[in-house]
Assembly symmetry: C2
Homo-oligomer: 308 residues x 2
Amino acid sequence: MTEPLFDKVAIIGLGLIGSSMARGIKKRGLAATVIGYDGSPDVRTRSRDLGFCDAIAETAEEAVTDASLVVLAVPVGAMREAAQSIASHLAEGAIVTDVGSVKTAVVRQVGEVLPDQALFVPGHPVAGTEYSGPEAGFAELFEGRWFVVTPCEQSTAEGVEAVSCLWRELGSTVEQMTPEHHDIVLAMTSHVPHLIAYNIVGTAAELETVTQSEVIKFSAGGFRDFTRIASSDPVMWRDVFLNNKEAVLEVLGRFSEDLAALQRLVRWDDGQALQDHFTRARAVRHRIVEAGQDTADADFGRSHGHDD
Amino acid sequence: MTEPLFDKVAIIGLGLIGSSMARGIKKRGLAATVIGYDGSPDVRTRSRDLGFCDAIAETAEEAVTDASLVVLAVPVGAMREAAQSIASHLAEGAIVTDVGSVKTAVVRQVGEVLPDQALFVPGHPVAGTEYSGPEAGFAELFEGRWFVVTPCEQSTAEGVEAVSCLWRELGSTVEQMTPEHHDIVLAMTSHVPHLIAYNIVGTAAELETVTQSEVIKFSAGGFRDFTRIASSDPVMWRDVFLNNKEAVLEVLGRFSEDLAALQRLVRWDDGQALQDHFTRARAVRHRIVEAGQDTADADFGRSHGHDD
């Protein structure tokens, strides 16, 4: 980069996504200055020690002062409050964006509290690991991933382009959707899979006939794959389900219908139909690997020096 | 090893598990000779080219002649036929073992066709990848994994010990259970997780509101983790569900009850209960990592030179 895209970027919320953005922006020189803020004093201290921002502000107000781009990187349920805390301190012409996994609710909640003249470009980087907190972030998290921009009434074409440009520089491919369509797509590809994973882990924990020790020991048979995604941040996921309720319940309804049908195939010993179903599922996997959204040696971004 | 455990080992079925056993036995010198056989002429040719056995027999009869250990490494639904094909050719004192993911049905089916004096030690290595076929095998597949031995009426203490010793040498830890208990433990830790994964992939394929292209693109949000285990061998899994029907339906019933309860928490906006549930699930994940059944950089054995 010969010239930074933004003069000052403020990142509100320094968890996995916020801290990865800060690292990526610094690494690629996309902003002259990156200022971070987190509501937790402990996270602020750890972030200061980690040093991935030029400075960590003690208040959200201080962080956003003179910022040309403000990123709200807090759980979906905390977006309204975060937007409220910065609303009256935004610089003239500042762009506000977010990274929430739910868009319709965020557009409504953030839109309500930002001043009328504010420029808001909602978006969602479809990337993550099962880790959380500022230590978990890394500059390459968004490389080869998708960023969904979901323009709303408070967006402008220039704002959408500026935010899209940032994400392309961070390594993502940008796709535009309505907030509503985003929410049903993500309910299918992310939210319901997480709920299912959380659920099966709960079932295993409560089954009387199998001990916990046995569940742990024999988890390599498949169960551990579910525990991985069921170990993502509980607060973030609570907020996703509370804020994308309709789409989640819609997809979950379909899942349950399909499961009843599959269950019936097992009960009726319909081997051919089971085999056909499994063969089709395998083909979907091949398409995901071909599309570069996973690899044979997939590590979900985990080969970046995490400890568990 | 100064002395091999077995003189001649015959492996019937040269897929992921059978070919990995052959490689592991050869690598560690656990047998003087390893002879392989597979019902598919194509798999026999590929196995011969891969060279992981001392020889590939053209018939099961030829493979087991003079073998002191015979391993049945075919899908659960093919166990009876495989046992039948070797029944009258077993050497005096030969031990027959298997690697089926279901034990009650295999004990019954294999037990019925083996001669009365045959020594049968059923077992199940809880290890695997989503790959199949002789190319997918590798000698280290069983290292750090569990092997469940499920003695039946046709087992002897010496036979159980000989088979257990082999698996310990292949790197596994051996646990003994009844076939019935094995089947409920594995229904929970492996079979139902696979059925759930197959099901959600099916739901995604049939949802009208989300395109297939969108499912593929945004799969990094969680869905791809399910497609991974839903890409395991369809025939093997068909046989698992047909042969462990009762335990699978029992666990599936519990899963569905639990899912209905979780769904209700979403519908009722019960954020605290959702967060508590997710926090408990996260703790299970930590125990699995602590128990060495997964790692932060888990690759499910995939870092052993596979292509997809």
